[in-house]
């Protein structure tokens, strides 16, 4: 058995180094009846030019003899055995086939281990998430982890870039976790990243999408807040920036964008959970995204994930008037909500931010829309309040799956 392992191991190394193959090699089991036959086999063993590889050497009549025979020698060895009346059977018809299958099995098992070591149906820490981003980038040539800046507490802001080529292709932006307590969003973003990476090449829609466009995914837009929800306060929403003149910490990053900044629906009180901050883009988490998107210059869609309430919204939030592209965005929103509903029956309400939740100034999709990115949508994921921010982990994957269908519907429209 050890012999086999050594053989297979060296075969794999050999195969990978293109040194040797075992195509046509056969392994025979020889059953000797007496001492005479054993001696014959020992004679065979001495013929080095045959390059016979005895897995079980001939020693005593009662013990079987297993031998690997190179392809060129197979016929002559068989002829010899038959002429001597020595019984044999074929253990392995073609050794290379066995080795190939073994290699395939090992690769599949390793793949299963890699993907299954990250449980997408559980909530993870920031470190675990960042490790998984590295893994995804290392497993797929078209996935790259880039850093677009760092948070207030100097944590890197990591974005996964999905690109199959081209130069500055039209791009789609997707972020999650800008409000740190909305845990289903970071979790869903990871699932979605894995989904896209895994299905490129097999899923027609993803493949045609990535063949034409690039996707940039920021799974944890507010890492400081996220860590804080793990270590101190599960209900933390804002950034963790110090505010001059106040004992309170943090700015609502979705009131900090330069779109109707400081207007209705945002608070000027630092202790408020919807505090807009001292000025637009004061939060480095927001500024980093703004700079990245502006420098890129070719984004066609800006999509952002929040929870909870099951809503699919488009601009505006800072004013209660309809955007110029109202008809198209409403129609696309309805189509996306319909796709979401098709999976588990989960209903999302569709509308402008202002009419659906509230007037809220300084929001990200208002900024992106007013900066020429027409397809700007904000999702509020599951649920509608039963668990709210504390969505049970067993709903992560269903939430991610249905949300993905909605996102895909929008992306397909953008692609076309």
């Amino acid at each position: 058995a050890n012999m086999k392992l050594i053989l297979i191991f060296s075969a794999l190394i050999g195969a990978s180094l293109c040194l040797e193959t075992f195509v046509g090699h056969q392994v025979l089991r020889i059953k000797t009846k007496n001492e005479e036959e054993v001696k014959q086999l020992q004679l065979l063993e001495s013929l080095e030019h045959l390059q016979l590889d005895f897995w079980i050497n001939p020693s005593a009549p009662a013990l079987p003899v297993d031998v690997r025979i190179p392809a060129v020698s197979v016929q002559s060895v068989k002829a010899f055995l038959e002429s001597q009346g020595i019984e044999y059977s074929i253990l392995i018809e073609d050794l290379q086939d066995v080795l190939d299958k073994e290699q395939q099995d090992m690769a599949e098992s390793a793949q299963r281990q890699r993907s299954s070591s990250f449980d997408f149906g559980a909530y993870h820490t920031l470190d675990e998430i960042n490790n998984e981003l590295d893994l995804l980038a290392s497993e797929h040539s078209f996935v790259e982890k880039i850093q677009i800046g760092q948070s207030y507490e100097e944590r890197p802001l990591y974005v996964l870039k999905f690109s199959t080529g081209g130069s500055n292709r039209p791009a789609i932006w997707l972020d999650a976790g800008i409000h740190s307590r909305e845990w289903v969003t970071q979790a869903s973003a990871l699932w979605i990243a894995n989904k896209i990476a895994s299905d490129y090449g097999t899923d027609a829609s993803i493949t045609s999408l990535l063949d034409k466009m690039d996707l940039f995914l920021l799974p944890v837009a507010n890492p400081d807040g996220f860590v804080y929800t793990h270590t101190s306060n599960r209900m933390w929403r804002k950034t963790r920036s110090k505010i001059p003149g106040s004992i309170c910490v943090g700015v609502d990053p979705n009131r900090n964008w330069d779109a109707g900044f400081g207007g209705p629906g945002a608070s000027n009180k630092p202790c408020s959970d919807s505090y807009h901050g001292p000025s637009a883009n004061s939060e480095v988490e927001v500024k980093s995204v703004v700079d990245f998107i502006k420098n890129h210059g070719n984004f066609k869609a800006f999509l952002t994930l929040h929870s909870y309430s099951q809503l699919l919204m488009y601009p505006y939030g800072y004013k209660c008037t309809r955007p110029d592209d109202y008809a198209e965005l409403e129609s696309l929103g309805r189509a996306a909500a319909s796709s979401i509903r098709s999976l588990y029956g989960t209903t999302f309400q569709v509308g402008t931010i202002c009419s659906t939740i509230y007037q809220a100034s300084g929001g990200s999709i208002d900024w992106s829309y007013d900066n020429g990115i027409k397809y700007s949508f904000a999702f509020e994921l599951r649920d509608t309040g039963r668990y709210g921010f504390l969505l049970p982990a067993n709903q992560i994957i269903p939430a991610a799956q249905e949300t993905w269908l909605g996102l895909k519907r929008i992306m397909e429209h953008v692609r076309n």
């Binding site: 009419s355 659906t356 509230y358 039963r386 969505l391």
Partner: protein, 217 residues
Amino acid sequence: ELPPSHFAAARAAAVAMGYLRYRRGGPGRGLELRALRRARRQDIDDAGHKYYLELELEDVLDKGRTVNCTAEVLYHLGSKSTAPDVQATVQGELRSTEEADKEFYNRIRSLEKELVAENIPDSHGNVPLELEPLHLLAWAASGYVIWQNSTENTKFHLAQVKHVKQAKRSDEDLQFDYVLLLHEMVSQEVVPWEVTVLWHPRRGARVPRDRRQPGHA
């Protein structure tokens, strides 16, 4: 007439749900809003704004079955200190809680030490099975607070039971002192609220005492 997706309709529905949970909810029944079918708003001079709602309800312990409900929510004019008036009519039968109530009542009464628990659900959304009745009772209690403290500019949900402690009583009621975290959607604040609940299988839930926890904004 309001589109059901409009925030004003959703806020009024949340008030109606608070009222319903308080009146009809308990350790054996948790009412959820399955869908808001229809909403109308009427501005009444010198009185306030009245919403007429058609709701579809679901008992989380009896999923797969929905019950229709009509409700009226009147927000009083200009007043921030008067609770909205709510009327609600459930069409049809809700699943009986008699057995579940009796089981819960006896279980708590037979405890040697007063029950104490915290973080329901926990950070990952888990609720241990034996704490689910306390979670649902918190829903009923929060329903009262939400009903009493809502305006047209607020939308409250129970975010989490931060803490619950049983207080033994000499009479037949069960008493639980809760610290609830209420999420207010418009300001996005998560507000801690101390709520005392009395409960009895026949008498249902009552909130004799409640207050917004003093402290941070």
